[in-house]
């Protein structure tokens, strides 16, 4: 799973798991630092996503034999 493919949901779940581990006692220095580092990177990425304020709207179009296409739709909510 590359960085691009990590969803916000996965990130937040991983962050929960990291916090649970870090707040638990039996871990070593390297692990604690690695968890901290990973946690910080998840927070940073999530915050970057939050500030990435472009709503993406697309339309699904059914194709033959169960296929589908996706086309962009202009957002006219403003």
């Amino acid at each position: 799973v590359t960085e691009e493919q990590v969803t916000l949901e996965q990130r937040m779940k991983r962050l929960d798991a990291i916090l649970a581990k870090l707040e638990n006692d039996g871990i070593e220095l390297d692990d604690a630092l690695a968890l901290f580092e990973e946690g910080v990177s998840h927070i940073r990425e999530a915050e970057r996503m939050l500030s990435d304020a472009e709503l993406r709207i697309e339309r699904l179009i059914a194709g033959p034999r169960g296929s589908f296409e996706i086309e962009p739709v202009a957002d006219d909510t403003d």
Binding site: T7, L8, E9, R11, M12, L15, I18, L19, L22, E23, D25, G26, I27, L29, D30, A32, L33, F36, E37, G39, V40, I43, R44, A46, E47, M49, L50, D52, A53, E54, L55, R56, I57, E58, R59, L60, A62, G66, F68, I70, V73, D75, T77
Partner: protein, 387 residues
């Protein structure tokens, strides 16, 4: 009429019926008739035959297939109905009858109520309405599919809410006809399409408020099945609060309006910021606590080393809080830079326990920009979290 001899000319039966039919059809405009349904029969052709009666009279009536198809349910025997149609004559039998185009059940909900209750019982018996079938909704969906009319107010409401609360969201519109002929199957198709993409984390199915007839598509069995079969949790948002549809009952979550559905579907940006900020505090506190408990193991060189660690610990906390948001590479080296110190023996092994420090032993305290040669004066064992 011209008489020939003594005997007046006779009309054929067909001619009489044709004249009577003409009189009936042209003499009266289309009209609403109210009465009680009796002997309702839906023929295999799809045409429905029935009688309308009151205390003292009865009319034969027919509702042809194209009109009968629009009925949500067949009326029950004795049900009070209003029927719009016109009078005609069925020439083959010489019987006059009422050709109905529309039929409305009177009383609470009319035919809609009958259809609703019938389908409700069926789905309930299959367990499709059971609370334990409801799936949890994702807390942070990346992709929200919306099944609704591409031109309805519902879509605009949903987009507005998502763009304010969670503008990072990807919205997949699966357009559908939400009322009128063919709406139920079109909605079901659009729901299946949204599920089939494998992209959506949650699906909102809905439309704005309307009359019971407008909302009827959401009470159809095909939409109930499509919702029940969806691989992705579904939020229903049909009309306003007072209207509960079968779609609402089968969905994983029922929202009273499309806006409420969108609010439930995505987290709020401000809430997310707070959540992340709390997570950051917990990360820092977690590491802080880690160092605090471990530093007990490092109380080896009496006050002097202890003071160094205490000082670095205090400084570290401030610096962590300051840097947590923009740390690019937090490696052990980075940690050293921010004030951690690691005791190493002559072979470069990390010393983790008082057991490993003997009075008089030399060790190196590794800090960010080098190392500090130290010598153990005494060790004080304190029961740590590991021991």
């Amino acid at each position: 009429m011209i008489a020939r001899g003594a005997r007046p000319e006779a009309y054929t039966v067909s001619a009489v019926n044709a004249m009577a039919k003409e009189l009936l059809e042209t003499g009266l405009p289309p009209l609403w008739v109210q009465g009680e349904v009796t002997g309702w029969k839906r023929h295999t052709s799809g045409h429905c035959y029935f009688g309308l009666r009151d205390r003292s009279a009865q009319i034969r009536a027919v509702l042809f297939r194209s009109d009968a198809q629009r009925l949500p349910a067949d009326p029950e025997q004795g049900m009070e109905v209003r029927v719009l149609g016109r009078l005609t004559l069925y020439e083959a039998r010489g019987e006059y009858q009422f050709v109905a185009r529309e039929l409305e059940g009177l009383g609470a909900g009319g035919l809609w109520r009958i259809a609703f209750e019938k389908l409700y019982r069926k789905l309930d018996a299959e367990g499709l309405l059971a609370p334990e079938r409801k799936r949890p909704l994702p807390r942070h969906p990346s992709v929200v599919a919306v099944v609704t009319s591409p031109v309805g107010a519902a879509l605009q409401d949903i987009l507005r809410v998502i763009s304010v609360r969670a503008p990072w969201t990807r919205v997949l519109l699966s357009p559908a006809k939400v009322q009128g002929d063919g709406a139920p199957s079109d909605l079901a198709r659009a729901i299946r399409l949204a599920g089939r993409t494998g992209l959506a984390d949650v699906i909102i199915v809905g439309r704005g408020g309307g009359s019971i007839e407008d909302l009827w598509a959401f009470n159809d069995e095909v939409i109930a099945r499509a919702i029940a079969d969806s691989p992705v949790p579904i939020i229903s948002a049909v009309g306003h609060e007072i209207d509960t549809t079968i779609a609402d009952l089968v969905a994983d979550f029922r929202a009273p309006t499309p806006s409420a559905a969108a609010e439930r579907a995505v987290p709020d940006r401000a809430e997310m910021s707070r959540e992340l900020s709390t997570a950051r505090d917990r990360l820092v506190a977690g590491l802080d606590r880690w160092v605090r408990t471990r530093s007990l193991h490092l109380e080896v060189a009496g006050g002097r080393l202890n003071r160094v660690i205490e000082r670095t610990t205090r400084r570290r906390k401030e610096r962590l809080a300051q840097y947590a948001g923009k740390l690019d590479a937090l490696s052990p080296l980075g940690a050293l830079r921010r004030g951690f110190a690691v005791p190493l023996d002559g072979d470069g092994r990390i010393l983790r326990s008082t057991d490993e420090f003997k009075p008089g032993d030399a060790f190196d305290l590794r800090v960010a920009d080098g190392s500090v040669p130290c010598r153990v004066e005494e060790t004080q064992y304190s029961r740590g979290p590991d021991g």
